[in-house]
């Protein structure tokens, strides 16, 4: 659930930033999200999340 909630938040946040007109480096943030997601899933696999 947590990793899925994290992805849901990131998708909503990215959409908000895209629509806000502010400068948004989507590639960089997507890479950061993927890195955090790997860690979260690792925690989930280890039963710590």
């Amino acid at each position: 659930a947590i990793s899925e909630e994290f992805v849901a938040y990131c998708n909503a946040e990215f959409e908000r930033r895209r629509n806000s007109g502010e400068e948004f480096d989507e590639d960089a943030y997507t890479q950061a999200m993927e890195m955090a997601l790997v860690r979260l899933r690792q925690l989930e696999e280890e039963g710590m999340a």
């Binding site: 659930a1 909630e5 994290f6 950061a32 890195m35 860690r39 989930e44 710590m48």
Partner: protein
């Protein structure tokens, strides 16, 4: 987790506690007067699971032992999602504390032994630890405080804990990156300083090599000039006698040619006058002269005079040709010797060595012999050799050489002096050439050092850039994780509020229906009477207790959803202490319908109101006078 049995000896109040065949669903009602041991049952379960109770921490464990006893033990049988386990724990006054966890079907082969090992295995099976347990499924007596928003338990329930854990791990990595970057930066700065101290100038090596090559070309040209001068001088010296002989022969041939011409003219003229114009006065005078000089003169000799003229004419032509031949040879030799003039000019064009030869202590070994030879050559150079022939001497000689008038000794003296001077210049230039060679080698070594240092610095800067990129990436990840934490917390608060809204009206008989939970878990309750939200400390302690019970049950529900597999028990120690009988009846009814997963609910109360619609799955009656309880 559902409790199936509890068996304890010498734990807190009880010498023996034995609760068997506990129902997996419904309310287990524990009742009894003050100090009859109702709470001890919950504390015993807590001790069995976590090795401590709500009120007694790990440092006060000896107080778990019944007064006067040396040791205590507890065995808890429970099931998680259909799998039965047995957990046993032993404690004595000497501080010996042991634990063992087995599957019920295989008691001889425990799956964990020892306090820590059992704790780890239990967390794996249950999905929660002591902190989460006492913030959710276990409501201790008289506990009416709100959960701390920053407690691990609440964060776990909200799902924020793993997000914060990952963010924290990124922060630690960033700190490591910063430390590594500082080290790399210091290393790079040291290397930059080394690079600066090398005082490297772009293009200096090329300039040195150009100078070296130019000097080498100049030395070769100088050597060539010396060689040409010597060869030209040899040719001149060799040709000069021949030129002079050829010129002498040409002069003599010219003399004889002139004499033959005169005689041919006289012979031809005499024949013409005597043979062709005998009537002329001049002819008669000539004949008279011949007759006087030659008494036997006969006119028949006149043709012989003509033949003599022809013979002298032929001789004149022969001498003409001979003079031309010697003249041609003299010219050819003079032309050959003219290279001396060019050689003199080229030698004169050689400039004197300018500057000082830099001598270094270290010379390339391969060039040692050459340098030694150069030094030996230097020793042989006399003061005289260091002087070049005067410009006037050069100009005079050049003029005389061009006319092939210069004597051999004159040429030899000049050329010897000039070549000695030239060789000294060549020697000096060669010394400078070797010096430049060493400088080029040193500069090449410096270029190699600069290249190596630059490469290392570039590598360090690339690593630093990589670290910066990794750092930036983690900062963005932390930003997202913190945003997600806020998002999850907000959802958590909303869910808690909705869950509380289901039970709070029942517990408060409709007087309080809505809660507002701030991000810091500050609870405010909406009063139907006052039509406004109130702080928790503005309502009565009884209402506070009711609100916190509703909140606790909501937190339990969240922990169930988040971490727990299968059905779960809850232990509520006197949750209705401030409820009147009617509200207690409502609350009991509400608890039975509270959750699909919170199926086994232990409730402690002094007495239960009569006339409740709820049928207890098990009733346990405690007594102040008894230290043995079986049910």
């Amino acid at each position: 987790m559902i409790i199936k049995s509890v068996k304890a000896e010498n734990v807190l109040k009880y010498a023996s506690l034995d609760l068997r065949d506990l129902p997996q669903q419904g309310i287990i009602a524990i009742s009894g007067e003050n100090e009859s041991g109702k709470s001890t049952i919950g504390e015993t379960v807590c001790f069995a699971l976590f090795g401590r109770t709500f009120s007694l921490g790990y440092d006060d464990l000896d107080k778990v032992l019944r007064w006067g006893e040396h040791h205590c033990s507890v065995a808890l049988e429970f099931s998680v999602d259909g799998v039965d386990y047995q957990l046993s724990r032993f404690l004595d006054r000497d501080g010996s504390h042991s634990a063992r966890l087995s599957r019920a079907e295989d008691l001889d082969n425990p799956i964990a032994r020892g306090v820590n090992s059992v704790a780890d295995k239990l967390f794996e099976i249950l999905g929660y630890e002591f902190d989460e347990f006492v913030e959710s499924f276990y409501l201790a007596q008289r506990e009416i405080t709100t959960p701390h928003p920053h407690s691990v338990a609440v964060k776990t329930m909200a799902g924020v804990a793993p997000l914060e854990y990952v963010a924290s791990s990124f922060e630690e990595e960033i700190a490591q990156f910063d430390e590594m970057r500082e080290e790399l930066d210091a290393e790079a700065e040291t290397l930059r300083q080394e690079l600066h101290e090398l005082d490297f100038q772009e293009g200096y090596l090329m300039e040195l090599e150009d100078r070296k090559n130019a000097l080498e070309a100049e030395v070769n040209a100088n050597k060539s000039a010396v060689e040409n001068l010597e060869q030209a001088a040899d040719i001149y010296v060799q040709n000069l006698p021949q030129i002079r002989r050829a010129r002498g022969k040409r002069s003599r041939a010219r003399f004889w040619r002139f004499l033959s011409f005169v005689l041919a003219l006289i012979g031809g003229g005499a024949w013409f006058l005597l043979a062709q114009k005998p009537d002329l006065d001049q002819s008669r005078q000539l004949l008279q002269l011949l007759q006087q000089q030659l008494p036997n003169w006969q006119d028949a000799w006149i043709p012989y005079i003509g033949i003599g003229g022809i013979v002298f004419a032929v001789l004149m032509l022969l001498f003409w040709m001979r003079a031309a031949s010697h003249g041609s040879r003299a010219s050819r030799l003079a032309e050959e010797s003219a290279v001396l003039g060019d050689a003199l000019e080229k030698a004169r064009a050689v400039s004197a060595f300018e500057g000082e030869v830099e001598t270094t202590e270290e010379s390339p070994s391969a060039e040692d012999s050459d340098v030694a030879a150069g030094e030996a050559m230097n020793l042989s150079i006399t003061e005289e050799a260091r002087e070049r022939p005067e410009e006037s001497a050069y100009a005079a000689l050049l003029s005389r050489v061009e006319d092939v008038n210069a004597d051999v000794s004159e040429v030899r003296d000049y050329v010897d002096q000039e070549t000695r001077w030239l060789r000294e210049q060549i020697t000096r230039k060669e010394e400078q050439f070797w010096s430049l060679g060493q400088e080029v080698d040193q500069e090449m070594e410096r270029v190699r050092q600069v290249a190596r240092l630059s490469e290392v610095i570039d590598g360090l800067e690339a690593k630093m850039a990589e670290l910066d990129a990794s750092r930036e990436k983690r900062l963005k990840a932390i930003e997202l994780l913190e945003g997600a934490s806020g998002y999850v917390s907000s959802n958590f608060n909303r869910d808690i509020r909705d869950l509380v809204a289901r039970t709070l009206p029942v517990f408060t008989q409709g007087r309080y229906e809505h809660l507002r939970i701030d991000p810091d878990l500050t609870v405010r309750v909406f009063s139907s009477d006052k039509r406004d939200f109130m702080d928790l400390d503005e309502v009565s302690s009884g209402t506070q207790r009711q609100i916190m019970l509703a909140l606790r049950l909501a937190l339990s529900e969240k922990l169930l959803v988040r971490r727990v597999q299968g059905d779960q028990f809850a232990f509520l120690d006197e949750p209705f202490a401030f409820f009147d009988e009617e509200r207690t009846r409502y609350a009991l009814k509400a608890l039975t319908d509270l959750s699909d997963k919170l199926t086994q609910i232990w409730i402690v109360a002094q007495v239960y109101p009569e006339g409740t619609d709820v049928e207890f799955a098990r009733s346990i009656r405690c007594s102040r006078d008894l230290d043995v309880l079986e049910a």
